[in-house]
């Protein structure tokens, strides 16, 4: 079969995966703390093409024609951990994490990111930027899905009711002014290693680490917690829509190429093979 047939089909798959990713970003354009994914598309490993029936040529080996790419695929969805903009809500249970100075990771050349630490049912920590929090029936500070927010000691934070205050360093106090705990802020040098899990949670999948180190007390990192604010999703709806149109047109172009190949095959079948 003509090799390009599969190449253009692979192109269609890739653009469909990209469109799915962009849909996902748009769907979460209103999700607090959501980090938009970016697509990384890469070609399949190239093939080396040899000419057929040339083995009798001196010095007794076939001719190399050259390399051919069998198409492309969507290799990665890399979340963009840039800060989302803050929106004032005035709710005591909305806490935005505003990143200040974050060291650049020398290996990747990108900045790290800060997260709230969350207790998960499986015992391991999870990380989130969704600061739309709640107070559960027992008076603990939780995410909107009910996962406990952890303090610097790795304990749940019992605020009692919604009348608590959080200062810029994350120290939680009661309405009367008594300090309860300090909200843990975790630092990831390479946040691309965190895996999205749903409910705004991110999971650490790097083998060498079980938990992210704390950002508290690290002189190179500056941040603020803003009570009464929410960090919005960093999805740019206009840009996402434009990219989706691009993905659609690229899909269409690949479909046209596929049709062109089919027409070639049509000629091969119906004209080359015609007798008389």
């Amino acid at each position: 079969m003509l090799r390009g047939l599969y190449g253009s089909a692979a192109g269609m798959f890739t653009q469909q995966r990209r469109q799915e990713m962009l849909t996902e970003n748009l769907a979460n354009a209103n999700t607090p703390g959501f980090k938009a994914d970016r697509a990384s598309i890469r070609t399949f490993p190239n093939m080396l093409i040899q000419a057929q029936n040339t083995s009798n040529l001196p010095p007794n080996r076939s001719h190399y024609v050259g390399e051919l790419s069998p198409g492309a695929y969507l290799q990665e969805r890399i979340p963009n951990f840039a800060q989302g903009d803050l929106n004032e809500t005035g709710n005591n249970t909305d806490i935005a994490l505003l990143q200040g100075n974050i060291p650049i990771n020398e290996e990747t050349g990108r900045a790290g990111a800060l997260f709230f630490t969350v207790e998960h049912e499986d015992g391991n920590a999870r990380y989130t930027r969704n600061g739309n929090l709640a107070v559960d029936g027992q008076g603990f500070l939780t995410t909107s899905a009910g996962h406990y927010i952890l303090d610097t000691a790795g304990e749940r934070i019992e605020v009692g009711n919604e009348q608590f205050t959080v200062n810029r360093n994350g120290v939680v106090s009661t309405a009367a002014g008594a300090e309860i705990a300090q909200i843990e802020v975790a630092f990831s040098e390479d946040p691309a290693l965190l895996v999205k899990e749903g409910d705004g949670l991110l999971r650490l999948e790097a083998d060498e680490l079980d938990a992210l180190p704390t950002a508290i007390g690290n002189d190179e990192i500056s941040y603020q917690l803003q009570q009464g604010f929410i960090e919005r999703s960093n999805v740019d709806a206009g840009q996402t829509m434009t990219e989706m149109m691009q993905a659609f047109r690229a899909f269409e172009a690949n479909q046209k190429v596929l049709q062109a190949y089919d027409q070639s095959l049509d000629k091969a079948v119906n004209e080359v093979g015609r007798i008389g």
Partner: protein, 279 residues
């Protein structure tokens, strides 16, 4: 089916629920003592799709192997927001406003299962003839439900000439003879965990039916407040805490998000059309 159609349509369904919440708030922007609700979103479950069996062929990856494919967004919570509504002066004797945002009046509501205590911030009260005693009037809500005082439903002598309700909720009535008589004391509750209340309609909040099942005591949710801490203002009512400007902005934003998701579906549909046109 193209998975983006599923995630976009799921999200549209959830955005519709946010629109419902917003329109309910807007509809109640003039309801006395109404507390707005706010819907907020969270992303849905992500599943991992492995795209190649041989990881060493995947050079230059920044993320762990595979693709994490989400399924759209959902409403994570519709929290009731308890901030104080603005006070409006009415100079009416039986209009009472609460000035502490976590305080509630207790009212006795007739339900199918008998009497139930409910909680309200709507302090526009009325007087209604007492069924048992022709010489007495009951203090009731606009729906005729009894307002509860320290000793059960508050009653007032029918031949009163003036009613004064002190800031501490003490009700003093001036009789025909000009003498002041203290007839009762409003009993208020302080709601510690407002998210455990449900809106029961008719401007009242009720406790969740399955409170015990959930493992909560009544004491976890609310507590009767001491008379000294009661603060009511006679002659005022509390307006709803709905900010129409904010609701309108949320409405526009939600509607646009709905359109964006609709656009994604339409694009996925056209892509499927292209596939169908291959032959």
């Amino acid at each position: 089916m193209n998975p983006s159609m599923i995630s976009a349509s799921v999200t549209m369904g959830q955005l519709q629920k946010k629109l419902d919440t917003i329109s309910n708030n807007m509809a109640n922007s003039n309801t006395t003592g109404f507390k707005r609700r706010e819907a907020s979103f969270s992303d849905l479950l992500h599943q991992q799709v492995n795209n190649q069996g041989i990881p060493q062929h995947e050079g230059g990856r920044q993320t762990p192997d595979g693709l994490r494919v989400g399924a759209g967004a959902r409403i994570a919570q519709t929290a009731v927001r308890m901030e104080q509504g603005s006070l409006q002066e009415t100079e009416r004797q039986l209009d009472l406003a609460l000035t502490n945002p976590s305080h509630f009046f207790q009212i006795e509501v007739e339900t199918d299962d008998g009497q139930e205590v409910r909680y309200t911030r709507d302090g526009a009260f009325y007087l209604s003839p007492s069924a048992g005693d022709a010489g007495q009037l009951n203090l009731v809500t606009a729906n005729g439900d009894f307002v509860l005082g320290a000793d059960g439903p508050v009653t007032i002598p029918a031949d009163y000439t003036d009613i004064v309700i002190s800031d501490n909720g003490v009700i003093t009535v001036t009789g025909q003879d000009g003498a002041d008589v203290e007839v009762g004391q409003l009993e208020l509750v302080n709601v510690e965990r407002p998210q455990l209340l449900t809106q029961a309609g008719d401007n009242a909040f009720a406790l969740a039916d399955n409170l015990e099942e959930l493992g909560y005591d009544l004491a976890d949710v609310l507590a009767v407040i001491a008379q000294a801490d009661v603060s009511v203002r006679q002659g005022f009512i509390e307006n709803s805490n709905v900010d129409l400007g904010k609701e309108m902005t949320d409405l526009l934003e939600t509607q646009r998000a709905y359109q964006f998701n609709g656009q994604s579906i339409s694009m996925a549909d056209q892509m499927m059309g292209l596939v169908n046109n291959l032959r």
